[in-house]
């Protein structure tokens, strides 16, 4: 796999411009999304946070795929682990702060599974394609465990999860039962996650990951512990997917084994491929838009839509490796480059 490095020293200002451009777009989009509940109510406000959480799940893969070049077919497994952890904690009757405990255990459980799997595979120097298979198997295993451990998980019937509330200590408790309330909880959370991840990608850690993606041997020759960095980013990615899953469970009040399933797992890969594997915002947008479109078109013609999605997936991989975000970046890079040249000439 060879991608061109976006941050070649030749044209650093263009790279900076593109990144800044993406962040600006993100700020505007988040602000606009924040205004929606003022004008619309009802089903849209209920369902949008779900898509936001799918977007967060897509970003967890986008981080992995975009910066480290690792693809996981098991993100849904972590999502489901987070969801079930949330469900179990909410049923345990821990009182007002249960939601926090649920979120933390969701993150911890999925992060731990990712850490163990990642450590085992990366320290052995397992190839990227084997990694895909093992993560695919992981999602099958989690689905089967969710089905078979029916005393805990409710088996095929799934599990009811209560809506969490925000406990603010002595100040009081904010109920999130209202759809607009949980909208205004999930949207800022999504924004924080997005900006934190883009900061992570720009940090030294993120640059080392890009190095690993581009040339693993060279990075280890330079003295970097490649296995450590890969394990670390996979753990972060798994924990983030678990976080999204925990929020999803409490938002939709329900988790079922199909959340871990192979189909959902690979849907995440399709979202990110279409949105753009190299761009976090592309992954986020891919998750939100494709999931929303899927839901909408599935109500009209489920099978033909899934079929079309398969074709789109192949076309994206054959012709537009960067996905939607890549197409935009190309255009903006070209215009930025042209304007640079013009200013240089003038």
């Amino acid at each position: 796999m060879t991608f061109t490095l976006r941050n070649e020293p030749r044209q650093p200002s263009i790279f900076a411009q593109v990144v800044r451009g993406e962040l600006c777009v993100a700020v505007v989009v988040f602000a606009l999304l924040g205004l929606i509940p003022l004008f619309i109510s009802g089903y849209v406000i209920y369902v949008l946070p779900q898509y936001f959480l799918f977007g967060m799940l897509a970003m967890s893969l986008g981080l992995l795929w975009g910066s480290a070049g690792i693809v996981s077919f098991g993100q849904a497994a972590f999502f489901a682990i987070g969801g079930y952890a949330m469900g179990v904690i909410m049923q345990a009757g821990l009182g007002e702060g249960a939601g926090y405990v649920g979120i933390i255990s969701g993150i911890a459980a999925s992060g731990l599974v990712a850490l163990i799997a990642g450590y085992f595979l990366f320290s052995a120097g397992v190839k990227a394609d084997y990694f895909v298979l093992v993560t695919l198997a992981l999602s099958i295993i989690v689905e089967q465990m969710a089905v078979s451990q029916s005393e805990v998980t409710g088996g095929w019937n799934g599990m009811f999860v209560d809506r969490m509330s925000l406990w603010l200590g002595p100040i009081g408790t904010i109920s999130l039962y209202d759809d607009a309330a949980i909208y205004y909880f999930i949207l800022p959370t999504l924004a924080v996650v997005y900006f934190a991840l883009s900061a992570l990608k720009r940090s030294r850690f993120g640059k080392i990951l890009v190095g690993v993606r581009e040339n693993e041997d060279r990075m280890s020759a330079l003295g970097y512990n490649v296995a450590f960095y890969k394990t670390a980013v996979f753990t972060i990615s798994g924990a983030l997917a678990g976080f999204a899953g925990a929020l999803y469970a409490t938002h939709s009040n329900f988790v079922s084994p199909s959340l871990a399933g192979v189909l959902f797992s690979t849907e995440v890969v399709v979202w990110v491929a279409i949105g753009g594997r190299l761009s976090l915002f592309g992954a986020l947008a891919g998750g939100v838009l494709v999931a929303a479109l899927s839901n909408f078109l599935s109500s009209i013609s489920p099978q033909y839509w899934q079929l079309a999605l398969g074709f789109i997936f192949i076309l994206v991989i054959v012709f537009f490796k960067g996905g939607l975000a890549g197409a935009f970046t190309n255009i903006s890079e070209r215009t930025a480059y042209r304007s640079l040249q013009e200013s240089g000439n003038g």
Partner: protein, 284 residues
């Protein structure tokens, strides 16, 4: 004694059926280096084509041959349109074959419907060998698997086309410089692997109820077979891997539930991958 014998025969049958299911994958992965995530979909297609032919009144044995040819043709078309441009980017082929899975599954759902289908077994009886009742059809499938493995090994080791393919694996550039038609050989291998998957799907169909996701059950198992056995070890690797995966699962399932057995096999496969990433049969 009797239990040991029956478990042994059971394990042998399961091993061979699993080897049959994994063989198409082992061929494509081992020879042209494409991880075919569409392998499960090809098994499913084979099963559905068989079911369809039998419903048309075609006898079972013609039906499975037709299924093999049809899936081979589908594989050929897919290779020609997409895969052949990506042989030097193995990771992209993995994603592309997953796209094949998505499309094929939906086409199956649209054309054949989503409900369970049954293919009647051509040998719905058991052979009594005194101490154990051999299920006739499974025995037949195991026999086909043995013949297929041996036949492929013969082609691979003794015929000119086998020599070309081995040359191609060893050194692709050198082989093409010597005037061998590498792209045709790749195409042949991919088509053959697809056809074998179709045949396996057709042969497995009478043992299970068919639904559009039937191949998925075998997809991951087949991969573990190939990985555990060692890539490129067509004969020994496939058999050893199948014995390991199928046998372990059978024995564990005796003592615990099916799910626990599968989870345990998964962990064992990962541990093998950790300490022998090149597979059990490949020398370090």
């Amino acid at each position: 004694m009797q239990t040991i014998l029956s478990v042994g025969i059971d394990a042998a049958l399961i091993t061979l059926v699993l080897a049959l299911a994994a063989f198409g994958l082992a061929i494509i992965y081992g020879l042209v280096g494409v991880i075919n995530l569409g392998h499960g979909a090809m098994l499913t297609l084979g099963a559905y084509f068989t079911w369809y032919c039998i419903n048309l009144g075609i006898p079972f044995f013609l039906a499975i041959i037709f299924a093999a040819l049809a899936v081979g043709l589908v594989g050929l078309i897919f290779e020609h349109l997409v895969i052949r441009h990506f042989y030097n980017q193995p990771f992209e082929t993995l994603l592309l074959t997953w796209g094949f899975f998505l499309i094929s599954t939906e086409v199956v759902k649209i054309v054949f419907g989503t409900s369970f289908r049954n293919v009647p077994s051509p040998f719905p009886f058991a052979i009594d060998i005194g101490i154990y009742e051999l299920p006739a059809y499974r025995t037949f499938v195991a026999g086909v698997a043995v013949l297929l493995l041996l036949g492929t090994a013969y082609v691979f080791l003794k015929t000119p086309i086998g020599i070309i393919i081995r040359a191609m694996i060893q050194n692709r550039e050198m082989a093409s410089l010597l005037g061998l038609n590498i792209s045709a050989a790749y195409k042949l291998v991919f088509t053959f692997g697809s056809a074998i998957a179709g045949l396996a799907g057709g042969l497995i169909a009478p043992m299970l109820s068919i639904d559009p996701y039937i191949g998925n059950v075998f997809l991951v198992r087949s991969f573990f077979v190939v990985i555990v056995g060692g890539i490129g070890q067509l004969l020994g690797g496939t058999l050893l891997g199948s014995f390991f995966i199928g046998g372990t699962e059978t024995i564990l399932a005796l003592f615990s539930s099916q799910v626990v057995a599968q989870v345990a096999v998964f962990f064992i496969a990962i541990i093998i991958l950790r300490f022998r990433p090149q597979g059990l049969l490949r020398a370090r």
